[in-house]
Symmetry: C2
Amino acid sequence: MSDVKLLSTPVPPGGTIGILGGGQLGRMLAMAAARLGLKTHIYSDEKDAPAFQVCDAHTVAPYEDEAALAKFASVCNTITYEFENVPAKAASVLATIKPTNPNAKALAVAQDRFDEKSFVTGLGLKTAPFAAVNSVDEAAAAFARIGGPSVLKTRRFGYDGKGQAKVKSAEECKAAFASFNSVPSILEGFVSFDFEASVVAVRGADGQFAAYDPAENIHENHILARSVVPARLTAKQVADAKAIAKKIADALNYVGVLGVELFVQKDGTLLVNEIAPRVHNSGHWTIEACITSQFENHIRAVAGWPLGSTERHSDAVMENLIGEEAADWKALAAKGGGLHLYGKSEIRAGRKMGHITHLKPRSS
Amino acid sequence: MSDVKLLSTPVPPGGTIGILGGGQLGRMLAMAAARLGLKTHIYSDEKDAPAFQVCDAHTVAPYEDEAALAKFASVCNTITYEFENVPAKAASVLATIKPTNPNAKALAVAQDRFDEKSFVTGLGLKTAPFAAVNSVDEAAAAFARIGGPSVLKTRRFGYDGKGQAKVKSAEECKAAFASFNSVPSILEGFVSFDFEASVVAVRGADGQFAAYDPAENIHENHILARSVVPARLTAKQVADAKAIAKKIADALNYVGVLGVELFVQKDGTLLVNEIAPRVHNSGHWTIEACITSQFENHIRAVAGWPLGSTERHSDAVMENLIGEEAADWKALAAKGGGLHLYGKSEIRAGRKMGHITHLKPRSS
């Protein structure tokens, strides 16, 4: 990929960060960039993307529109994105015009569950047992190896529980594969774990690395409901979690913030569940509890600035506001926490509408 | 003023806050509104106002353009401003169309130093000695009463030390008055004080009141250089400072954030120096050290929302970045604090370019 543009000098105040994607993550990235005196240009295929309300300029066009992408890239100093499912072609069009981070390798790994798990185990890190399922025969063979119950997932574009099926037999595994229209899939073994945690980390353009304290995450209906910091982890587990994130970030020559989702087993073992090459929902608490939020650190990294501190001055509990949970905004506003509403015009079931963060004095 | 529109219901998420003024205060107000899912429309007479970079919509027009003001008001749910020198005519045009806060009385009091001091002493609060100077004869009489050295100031539109002259005799007082083109002025006696402090407070549409802990302020060249929280005040002085702000806010039937600048005398007496009917530079530390910043609380108040907590979770030192102090932004970014750059395209001497806030664990 000799055509990829690398960031040679930091983007100065007044420069423009291009952000692909105009949802709440793009919105919070834009607000973080503005704190630093940087302008943002948001590119989204949605007409009323929430991030348009807080940016200097925006483009509405499909992610496949190469002319629009090229025009967008031409007016930005550097480019990033708020979601991992950026079409590879779009990313490569952008990357030949302006520095684009996180890089193509990070995107590729995060877009394919099998490649992701293979990459992670290749680094000597642990995951749940897994096997590729590219045919009906492989479905049966994979089940024979992994056992049940286990979960068949499509390799690509899985999000918040869509494209997943729990299977208890080889027959169910084959049927699930067929129900996915036989797209390349992965069978993952169930692992018993105590709780889920995540570590949000940042790697700068110069390789500088920093990680926030891991959060303990509670999911409901396959959507993050709550993140609690500190997580119930020993000092060694905290250090291990950060080391896992560093190993991944270094191996990807990553620039920006990444989230690494972990399963914490009863015996203390940390298994890598997923890599998110972007700011992460479980890192929203950093807005209130750290001097530099995950959003600002992502902007600092992709703009070539020195990273900000990831130190936590307070304990935090972040609660997502999903669908109707955001309807009574007056009651939420009176609750006393740090309330964030995402500027979405319509409440829909399962839609992330906002979040609220409560702080407590730092306990550990 | 029976034509004034009052806020009868809160502005819901998705509603638009109109902000007159597009400098750093308007910019930080817009970002605070966005956190709550509110849109902002910025009105400024400057073509490249910094706040335009973070708002949903903007208008460029003179503050005297009544048609533009009316059009602006028609697309907003409620209106506020970032500076106190809003032309009275502009404020009254807006207030007949949409709720406009802080109200006309607050503006009038803050725009005239003599009215301001008269209002404050009328509440039983203390100020430096003062006298009106509307003629050469009054200049001499005022000096005879107040003594010297003292400071002659124009009654209106003083800002960061402009339109002020130190006088040591009746002759100097008369000459200074003439040098101000004989505009209505005020002679203020020097008072000895230990340090300057300020209290930033907020009053909701329902009369609810809350105040942040007072800051100790250090000025250089008549511009705020640094605010330190907590100030060197006793618990009683802190309570007194907040009570002063409450008395003023209640008397004005004020809605929004106001800053009250105080002189702290050696014997502990608090003198009111100035009222700022807006978010205040000495309250910028609240972005990092409180769950609800002064900017968000101003938006909450003018939008008719419940106020957020003014509690301080950390100690803070806020340093303004004036003129060339913002030039080495790479070094500032590496300093580890909460860095804010205001998106101003040109560094000029004396211009507020940004600020940086450092936190420490709460000491008291």
